[in-house]
Amino acid sequence: MQNMPKKRMAARLCGLSTVIIMVFVLSLFTVINGAKGINFLTASNISTIINQASFLVIVGIGQAIVILVGGINLSMGAVMAFTTVLCGGMLLKGSATNVLVPVILILGMGALIGFLNGIMVTRLNIPPFIATFAMMYVCRGLAWVYLRNRVLYSLNEGFRKIATGRLISIGGFAVTAPMVIAGTALLLFYLILKRTTLGRKIYFTGANPTAARFSGINTERITILVYILSSVMAAFAGLMYVARLNSAEPGLAGKAHFEAITISLIGGFSMAGGYGNIWGIAGGAVVVYTIQAGMNSLQLPSELQTLVNGALIIIAVFVNQFLMNKKMEIENDLCEELTVQKAKKKADKGMEDKG
């Protein structure tokens, strides 16, 4: 009985697995860089990492909510490319239309693609992997068909502020617009997932779709809605990527969906669905870009970087999975102990009553 608080602490600690991995990766690269005489842990460096991670956070949120309902969205990168390529002409510098028009069009198109994904998954019963994979092919192909080998270059300066804008800088640490956007998105989705019934329904649908359906949740509608949200996030991320690159091209974000899946898993989401905390996405994205930035400052050759990246990702997901399982074990133990205690108390009470 005495070790209950200790166990509770351990469970809490294991729940912070993403943070542990983040600290571990950061200190690893600080030490390695430090050995070579490079100061990795500077404010400006961290600011750069977080700034880059912010872009991925947007994609990651979109992926994470789909993973929450037990699906997967492989079309995200293609949606980012397709929507921005199609409306990119209106985003160019000399364009006469208001910037808001293409932005709304792009987000709307994202919603439409998400709706199609949702319909394929729910009504046509196509597994999410295949449905979104087909959508990826279609979107990417159409993007190439539409633009051929051209690249839409030099976009509206005002629009580019969403990716390049700086708000304040405190001693080298610059707070940029993407950070604010990513933070807002995280907060928004946190509120949706944790504070509304919709969020509860999403978790429930992911954890056990049959049980959710029998308890009166319209799981089809929830799933479609989640796919729509995911694609809208992808389209939005596309806007941010385009704004950063200052050009729209059909080959944009070729591996974004994979990066998003990786950060979701590092962030503690389970592929089976129904489990995960949206803040983990931020941690996952920071981990991925810390690895990237760390290797860049070490000036590793690019072919070695893929190797290190692959290995570290496997290790990170392994550690996370391990800690999560540990946490569940401890929590189960705690639950059992609590029930035993309660039963004992009840029995004692019964004895007293009799006495």
Binding site: F133, Y137, V138, G141, W144, V145, I261, E303, T306, I313
Partner: protein
């Protein structure tokens, strides 16, 4: 006693049979140069790699896993064989080295998935990065070619045609069966026999349907999973060898994206992503379907990006067709059961 009827049911064939037949007939009718012996030869030779890879992928999918490192392994093993050939090692030893390395890499995948309990999707994705990186490092990101000599005799032998049928003088009228195609067919046949005649098939299905139940009923899940991943690596290394022999040189990025084509082929063939279902011949036919469509569209002079869109659409329609066939079979089964009860 009732008369024994020979009835062939729709569901007896793998699902992709219909998609393949539709695609093949349409291509033959619409595209003028498609149904010629020469073109069929080209198509089959091109499809060799994908047929082998889709076999490997369908085994993994049936087991409820996925192997996204297939493409990376093809690059890696191809580069290993090619670099050994370039340095004058005997072709037999070089190919053996490639196959051993591929199998070992597959076992590594299996280890990560079973022992470290990393989800297969992300484990093999990370592994594909590792394999690709090994390929790039060894080859220094350059195309590898080798000089002719006595040590590459075996390669030349494997690259030759074993049977040539002349329907006419023009190249389009010559049907030739290459040794590579024969190897592919033999390998797939061996895998099929193993799958049907040994416990391999039933164990894979059992693991895919419910791993816990399979484990409790005495199937060593770790051993089988590692085994299947090793088999997948083995097949990938054979695919790497075939690519290398066919193109007579090797680019380190040759395997890029092949794993996804393999997934498409396997899924068109009726494999479910959840495991416990599917067939190897279906996956092979799925691969043939993909290459039929590609070949026909490139003969027609259609842009590759349009081909991408078309393949995406075919995937969706193929899945829908699969479901229609499945539900018809299901209905028939129910109907028959009801009949049996009445009688």
């Amino acid at each position: 006693m009732a008369k024994r009827k020979i009835n062939i049911r729709l569901s007896d064939f793998p699902n992709s049979t219909y998609v393949f037949i539709v695609a093949f007939v349409l291509a033959s009718v619409i595209v003028p140069n498609f149904f010629t012996p020469g073109n069929i030869t080209t198509m089959l030779t091109q499809a060799c790699v994908m047929m082998i890879l889709s076999t490997a992928m369908s085994m993994c999918l049936m087991m409820g896993c996925i192997d996204l490192s297939l493409g990376g392994m093809v690059s890696m093993t191809g580069v290993i064989i090619a670099i050994l050939l370039k340095n004058g090692v005997h072709a037999g030893i070089a190919i053996l080295a490639g196959i051993v390395s591929g199998t070992a890499f597959g076992m590594f995948n299996g280890f990560v998935v079973t022992k470290m309990k990393v989800p297969p999707f992300i484990a093999t994705f990370g592994a594909s990065g590792i394999a690709q990186s090994i390929a790039n490092t060894i080859s220094q990101e350059r195309t590898i070619s080798w000089e002719q000599g006595s040590h590459v005799k075996l390669v030349n032998l494997l690259g030759s045609n074993i049977l040539t049928v002349y329907f006419g003088p023009r190249p389009a009228q010559i049907l030739s069966i290459s040794a590579l195609l024969l190897i592919t067919v033999i390998i797939i046949a061996i895998v099929l026999v193993l799958f049907k005649k040994t416990t391999l098939g039933s164990n894979v299905y059992a693991l895919g349907a419910n791993e816990e139940t399979a484990r409790l009923s005495g199937i060593d899940n770790v051993k089988w999973k590692v085994g299947i991943y090793a088999l997948s690596g083995f097949l990938a290394s054979l695919a790497g060898m075939i690519v290398m022999i066919r193109t007579n040189s090797l680019q380190p990025t040759v395997g890029d994206g092949l794993e996804f084509q393999a997934v498409v082929a396997a899924v068109l063939g009726g494999n479910s992503m959840k495991g416990g279902k599917g067939s190897v011949p279906g996956a092979v036919l799925g691969a043939l379907t993909l290459y039929t469509v590609r070949n026909a569209m490139s003969l027609w002079g259609i842009d590759t990006s349009v081909v991408m869109v078309v393949i995406g659409c075919i995937l969706v329609f193929g899945m829908m067709l699969n479901q229609v066939v499945n539900s018809l079979a299901e209905k028939r089964k129910l109907y028959r059961r009801a009949e049996g009860r009445e009688a």
